[in-house]
Symmetry: C3
């Protein structure tokens, strides 16, 4: 087995959107499924998860399994993302595991007509690696029973305890053994609510801990085992800014996917990891990164954390309670140090093309210059900084572009949105660069 040659398509998954599979006391118990499967464009997730576990009441789950089969059979062909139903499972309960197996058999039954649109299953509450293998075995049986190729159904797991976290460290040793089909592994999803319970963690307000180490370990396992890591649900569904910040922090750990609970969250999670359409300048103001106001030729800082005065023969710069007396040159250097540029999609494509041309011309490294005018308290200062680009820089900047290319290839329904966002021309260059 070569775990870098995954059986499954996506290299990046931005969104993991769960929907209840059955509701009591409504005319159509599958109404929410029908609504979700109709989503398109930025509102449609990369991975849609009809959720026959926590989102659906325990006594509605048999009906939920039927609903999934019915709705996916009807409308699955036109859904632009992948479809991975979540079934019930628990490392400590054979009865729950058997129920999950039965639901998979039901959903995948060719007579129901859904299976050709089902990409895989999501298994929650897994334990140690041998528990993962039990789920893998059930999926293998489902495949055999219905004449599907072994390994063709993906398996994603929710990490909800210490044993599962440790199991992620064993994947490379276990995948490819002749007695399993763990190559089907697709998403490693953190489930922080149940993880918190399993770890017996207590916070005064009941807020979830950050679990940074868990997220690192999940991202690392995805990198090591050719899977994709996805962060768990962000409960405060009104706080889109907080959701965006969480995504940005996740991206810096190599975790580009996140759970979405609402279509609004789906839109944010689909867009957040993509490079911005406009570049912007940041300034580090006493511990906080603040975006400068782009006033055309000048980038203006208008907060209180930084103050600048021209004292004739020197400049006085105050950052928080730190004071500096600086010559013009020292001031420029200091501003170069505390500012940073967030490149737009166009900037990234420009730089990559420039580096590719230089490489073709036999150069291994080139300096990319970035200049602007920063204005603080009415005083304008020209700044300019060089960044050396070598092969490694080029490769590192490739990550957002690879993500973009993966989206472009797999989500034709988002082509219009991408063209609206960046312009046709930039989109065309972005899908070519690096190939």
């Amino acid at each position: 087995m070569n775990i870098d040659k995954r059986l499954h398509d996506r290299k990046f998954v931005r969104t993991f959107f769960t929907t209840p599979t059955a509701e009591k006391g409504v005319d159509d118990s599958a109404k929410k499924l029908r609504s979700a499967i109709g989503l398109r464009g930025m509102q449609a997730p990369d991975v849609w998860v009809p959720d026959n576990e926590d989102a659906t009441a325990p006594n509605m789950r048999d009906e939920g399994a039927s609903n999934i089969a019915e709705v996916v059979a009807e409308d699955g062909a036109d859904f632009p993302g992948e479809i991975h139903p979540r079934v019930v499972w628990h490392r400590d309960s054979p009865a729950t595991r058997y129920k999950g197996f039965q639901h998979m058999l039901e959903i995948a039954d060719p007579e129901n007509g859904a299976i050709e649109h089902i990409d895989g299953f999501v298994i929650p509450e897994v334990g140690d690696i041998d528990d993962w293998k039990k789920a893998d075995e059930f999926i293998t049986i489902v495949e055999t029973e219905y004449g599907l190729e072994e390994g063709s159904l993906a398996m994603s797991v929710i990490i909800e305890g210490g044993a599962a976290e440790l199991a992620m460290g064993k994947l490379r040793d276990e995948m490819g053994k002749p007695d399993n089909n763990l190559e089907r592994l697709f998403l490693l999803v953190d489930g922080e609510v149940d993880y918190t319970k399993d770890m017996r963690a207590i916070t005064p307000t009941g807020a979830l801990p950050e679990w940074k180490e868990l997220r690192h370990n999940t991202s690392r396992a995805a990198s090591a085992a050719g899977a994709i890591s996805v962060d768990g649900p962000f409960d405060d569904i009104r706080d889109i800014e907080g959701y965006h910040d969480r995504i940005t922090a996740n991206n810096a750990m190599g975790m580009t996917g996140i759970w979405s609970l609402t279509p609004t969250q789906v839109v944010e999670a689909n867009k957040s990891p993509l490079p911005p359409e406009e570049g912007s300048w940041l300034i580090e103001a006493d511990g906080r990164e603040i975006e400068l106001d782009d006033e055309g030729d000048v980038q203006v800082y208008s907060g209180d954390r930084i103050e600048l005065e021209d004292e004739g023969d020197y400049y006085e710069l105050e950052i928080g309670s730190d004071e500096y007396e600086l010559s013009e040159e020292e001031l420029q250097e200091k501003l170069v140090d505390i500012t940073a540029y967030v490149p737009s999609m166009t900037d990234i494509v420009d730089s990559m093309e420039e580096f590719e041309a230089a490489k073709e011309a036999g150069k291994g490294a080139i300096a990319m210059t970035r200049s602007t005018t920063v204005s603080i308290d009415g005083i304008e200062v020209e700044i300019s900084s060089d960044r050396m680009w070598d092969e490694a820089t080029y490769q590192a900047m490739m990550a957002p572009i690879s993500l973009f290319q993966d989206v472009y290839e797999n989500r034709p329904d988002q082509h219009d949105d991408l063209a609206d966002l960046y312009g046709e021309d930039v989109v065309e260059r972005a899908i070519e660069v690096g190939n």
Copy 2:
């Protein structure tokens, strides 16, 4: 073996209190042991550790072993916590390991009359998992020699190096093998001073590093292997506020136990993880969480970090150096965002009972509303927020209640303190809820 069915009693350990076993040049070299074994109520630890290693001078340790046997034989029957002597051990020294074995044989000798009150042994300075097995084997021999059931003596270890940290990741693979009795494992205790030495870490002032990753890995291992994680000693014994903060941070990682060096630390560590008797409101003021002053109907902020002015047609809110112009509704929303409520024991029990009743009535999720009036610079603002409670929320809030119930069951000597703290009525409801 089912590692979730531990041989040992406690599910939570709050306090791990060490006492020197022998002192030179005093009338009674076991004086400190006698004093510690007399502790009761909140001053008595969950786990008491007569410390025949670092706390006792090397040349006094043979006498220390005899002292342990003598004092525990005399007064062990009435001690309210568990008793786990620490013996000498070192991964790199067979002589030290043999000495530890001899001390265990001495302490556990039925002729000394202590063994019926001894719950297990603490093994410091362990190395890789095979080194843990050597200690396990010695304890098995002690058990066999003295007619005790195999596995009946608990084993706790101190993690004082990188090899032991890695060994914690192997516990699930090694426990339950026919050639060991590692199911006896009880506490995983971080020993940060020696860990720092083993890692060759250097800090300018000689202060201990935070070692957050170690603490996460210890908590995770405890979760995965059915053990209990305990943080190491907090050296500045006068700084009770700092000790409390460390406990709060540990609890958020799933580590509810901590080493205690003094009875004052024991009291703090026994109480810190329990829910407070009174609820309180927190406000996030420019990077710091500050408790609002409870003035009956109103929660008052009286610091300098937040300022609020009524400008007639809008409100001006300043948080640190950030300024906002807000309508009344926007102001309410902003305050909902930056405040949080710390529920009291009564609040938690109320919410859990409410959710249980709703579940019985067939509802899977209910909204819990929390309202108050916040006053800043004399301006009063009503705020109200809903939190959805589902099964997962309920389970997560169960952690402090489970801790409370574990304490109530195992520490009858603290019943009066708990009743004083919360009132009889709340205590009675708290021990019933969730069962």
Copy 3:
């Protein structure tokens, strides 16, 4: 195998300095190698790495291998540090691995005369542990082919992906197996640029993530497997203060080595982990540690974050936006809490000698007192604090001394610099203490 008895000499490595091995279009393509091998004293690294991988253009690497052999043969005898060339390698490319093998055969060929000055090889882009073994095997073949003792050439690896990070957790299980010579393992070096790429991490500005967990895991693996951990390159070569801060943070994680890209970085990295020649006082001022100005008898705080006023019957202390009304005694206590002393080399040696004398006299613990006068807003306050030193404190303070002694033993070319820095007398005491 006893992995604590390394085959290789250094216990600490401060500096890992890479140099291109061949450049196109210059008179002497080995010019940079010749320049680097001439470095002495604080400008010379502990480990010098002729870099036949990333620093050298792909089509120049065969010439690079010859250049290494030639330059090291000529001048290697006089180079004061160790010499470990980096060859090409990639976990995913057999062709690259074979090329690396050929370059090692070339560099080590006794006919070239370099091998007696070569201490080992650096292998980049390793994957899982079985990939490390392939490199180990090639080095074994090189040794056998040229009549060198098996294991005599060190092997260092660059950790540039999740698989390699996980492999570090397996070293103890794999080293010492009869079919490998992994005891040759020397440095574990983090390569954060390629690691970021492998983890597919994205940051808005393209800045490297901190990767704290990776650094912890590398340091832990070094501790567990008897190797030495080294942090990756710090790109902003002008920002020496930032480089110093990174080294300080690394040291607190047990990582004393860092990659150096320039001789200026080498000097900083050689000096940073050594204790300072002068002690200094720090004060925690509203979230920042600030060094007090040493004005002889008085330590003066002259910033804006802390304000102190004598109100007659009490003192008013303001730290950030927190206000305290304190008696003189309370003020002293508060200042003891927020200040800390950074001991000089002399201070450390004094304390260690004092503790050694106490130990000889039969005492297990002694109080070390540290007093000074702090001046804030013109008000002088005497402060004094005791710190208990026991064997553990003594051992922990041993780390910077062990580092110093390791440097002293292995780098005679730095003796003059050390004497200039600390004075002959202190140096002599420092090399004796603890032995």
